[in-house]
């Protein structure tokens, strides 16, 4: 009885397998196209997580050793996490990361919106294009290059201090000082220099998709320019702004490694070292304790994952298009 009952089921599994196999064979050319991509993601994204031979994320839970192979490292549980939580420089770094992200949210985030609104008020499309061409260009340069430009202008004999001196002021060491305001202003301004034009493109695109008849109707009704911005343009880009804002909050732990890494030095480290730079320092510059660096990396990855997922959930709850 039981055997008889099981039989059709197993035949079902078999025929399912056969059907899957036939499907795979039928689409073998698609798999041929897909295979380099799969190999890439498995090797470069999944092997670092799961590879048992080199350690993967398990490294964070084992006693680091330079002489023994990974398989012989003893388990130590959360030792390295506790070590990390006990370090004052770790908490300093976390505080810096959140502070810098918050400052960026307040002072950087609105700027592309304002720039897009300004550019939208330029009536000659040719002029508008010239402005856009200029503002977007720095986005395509690497931070090494931008920091090169900054260093030349901001050094003691540079052009900025030259102006300060010619007005009778004392030159200021912009690149190495312990002023929180000075350092954060430098981060914000240089990031705006690089990215504000690029950031405004998405808002300009949103503005461009606003129904032009709305503007015509408003003009007929005698709405002035400010009213048109407030009641037509701004509502047209608000949802884009909200989505980008939430996504940026989700990215609070990712605070522009390239920019900070190229600007950091012994003097300003206490103010601008963020978590990514910290992990890099412990991994390659100091102590070479791989387990400790892996533990702080894993800690960041997990918190970051939770933040990104939450941000994405909120965005989709709002009924907006998720970016992914």
């Amino acid at each position: 009885m039981a055997v008889a009952a099981r039989r059709p089921e197993s035949r079902d599994t078999l025929s399912n397998l056969a059907r899957t196999w036939r499907k795979l064979v039928e689409h073998r050319y698609l798999f041929l196209l897909l295979s380099p991509l799969l190999a890439y993601y498995l090797i470069f994204n999944y092997a670092p997580i799961f590879n048992v031979q080199t350690g993967g994320i398990l490294m964070a839970f084992k006693q680091h050793s330079l002489t023994k192979p990974f398989s012989e490292w003893p388990w130590v549980g959360l030792k390295y996490f506790q070590m990390m939580w006990g370090k004052p420089d770790f908490w300093r770094t976390m505080r810096n990361t959140v502070t810098i992200s918050f400052i960026r949210l307040v002072f950087e985030f609105p700027m592309p919106i304002l720039l897009a609104l300004l550019l939208n008020e330029v009536r000659h499309s040719r002029q508008k294009r010239i402005y856009q061409t200029v503002f977007t260009f720095p986005n395509f340069l690497s931070w090494v290059l931008i920091v090169g430009l900054m260093r030349d202008m901001l050094q003691m004999n540079g052009i900025v201090n030259g102006v300060i001196k010619s007005f009778g002021g004392t030159p200021y060491n912009f690149l190495a000082n312990e002023s929180a305001f000075g350092n954060y202003a430098m981060l914000v301004l240089s990031n705006l220099f690089k990215g504000v034009g690029w950031g405004s493109i998405i808002y300009l695109a949103a503005i461009a998709s606003i129904d032009p008849t709305l503007y015509e109707a408003a003009a007929v009704d005698g709405a002035n320019r400010w009213q048109r911005i407030l009641h037509i343009t701004w509502p047209g880009i608000k949802s884009t702004a909200v989505v980008l804002l939430i996504l940026q909050v989700g990215n609070i732990l990712n605070s522009s490694f390239d920019q900070i890494f190229n600007l950091i030095n012994g003097v300003n480290r206490g103010l601008i070292e963020t978590i990514d730079v910290y992990i890099y320092r412990y991994a390659f510059q100091q102590s070479m304790n791989q387990s400790f660096a892996a533990a702080s990396g894993l800690f960041k990855a997990v918190v970051n994952f939770a933040l990104l997922l939450t941000a994405n959930k909120i965005v989709s709850r709002l009924g907006e298009n998720k970016l992914f």
Partner: protein
């Protein structure tokens, strides 16, 4: 839709009232100031790169050129491994972009086909990597075990596929009508033939956009080289630049010292740095018009729901 609309908006003629004209002046004023702020660092770059040593030393505020001296560029080119690094960067950019495009296009097309078995699974496999990774050290150790240390390929293969661009391209392929594929299938073409003969020509706008993004990223990369490359013959230009301007380790090398002694010239380190910065910027400047032509479209395509 996005491309057409700016002209549509222009059709609305605002009769310029007095207040409106004042606002125009203020808006233009702000934008001109911003333009100056963006252009000035590049002006300073060119200014210092063609300045003579004695002019920089003797002028407290060097803001207008006293002379245009291309000597600094000659010296920058003599910087140890400079010429070599241009070759490395060019190789990495050309080969890297080609490989990136090939794998991204093939993978994006496969992921865009609705009849791909386990399509959802593969897609999530890719997307999850945007949210979670193993971290720097585990990744580094895998790279090391694969023999990427001191290999030029470390700048080409590990950054080969950018997930964001992959999804952009997949979205584009999804937007191409199905009947083209179906009729080609009836004619007996397989998926590989369909991709290369029919789909790639149709997707050329997005492919061009992403090619430019990949090329700029490869040219700008310094981080991978810093982590993995020891051999000075394999260092790319951006890393040379970083050593000059960020580490400020100007080790001039014998060729350069001799050339400077023979020519009885002195070169200010700032001039040398700015000449190198200029030379690194030029290739980006050259492709920028093409980049600009496509990037708005690229961003708009990205906003389409995945």
């Amino acid at each position: 839709m996005a491309v057409k609309a700016p002209t549509a908006q222009k059709q609305v003629k605002y009769r310029g009232s007095f207040g409106d004209r004042i606002a125009d002046v203020i808006i233009t004023g702000i934008l001109v100031l911003l333009t100056i702020a963006v252009v000035f660092p590049f002006y300073n770059m060119l200014l210092i790169s063609v300045a003579r040593y004695e002019d920089i030393i003797s002028t407290p505020l060097y803001i207008f050129p006293k002379a245009i001296d291309l000597q600094n560029y000659k010296m920058a080119v003599l910087y140890p491994y400079f010429v070599n690094s241009v070759g490395v960067s060019t190789f990495v950019t050309v080969v890297g972009t080609a490989l990136s495009l090939l794998t991204t296009t093939m993978g994006a097309y496969a992921l865009s086909r609705k009849h791909l078995p386990f399509r959802k699974f593969f897609f999530y496999l890719v997307v999850i990597t945007m949210y979670f990774g193993g971290g720097l050290i585990p990744w580094y150790l895998v790279m090391k075990s694969l023999g990427f240390v001191d290999s030029v390929w470390v700048m080409i293969v590990p950054p080969m596929i950018n997930t964001f661009y992959l999804i952009l391209m997949r979205n584009y392929f999804e937007g191409i009508p199905d009947d083209l594929e179906e009729s080609a299938k009836i004619d007996g073409a397989n998926d590989v033939q369909i991709l290369f003969r029919i789909m790639i020509p149709l997707a050329s706008p997005i492919i061009a956009t992403i090619a430019l993004f990949y090329a700029v990223a490869r040219w700008n990369d310094w981080w991978l080289a810093m982590l993995f490359i020891q051999d000075p013959n394999k260092i790319p230009l951006t890393l040379i630049l970083r050593r000059m301007v960020v580490d400020a380790t100007i080790d001039l090398g014998n060729a350069m010292m001799n050339a400077m002694r023979d020519a009885h010239i002195q070169v200010h380190s700032r001039s040398l740095q700015m000449a190198t910065v200029t030379l690194t910027t030029i290739p980006i400047l050259l492709v920028y018009p093409f980049l600009q032509k496509y990037f708005t479209k690229g961003i708009m395509l990205g906003a389409i729901k995945a």
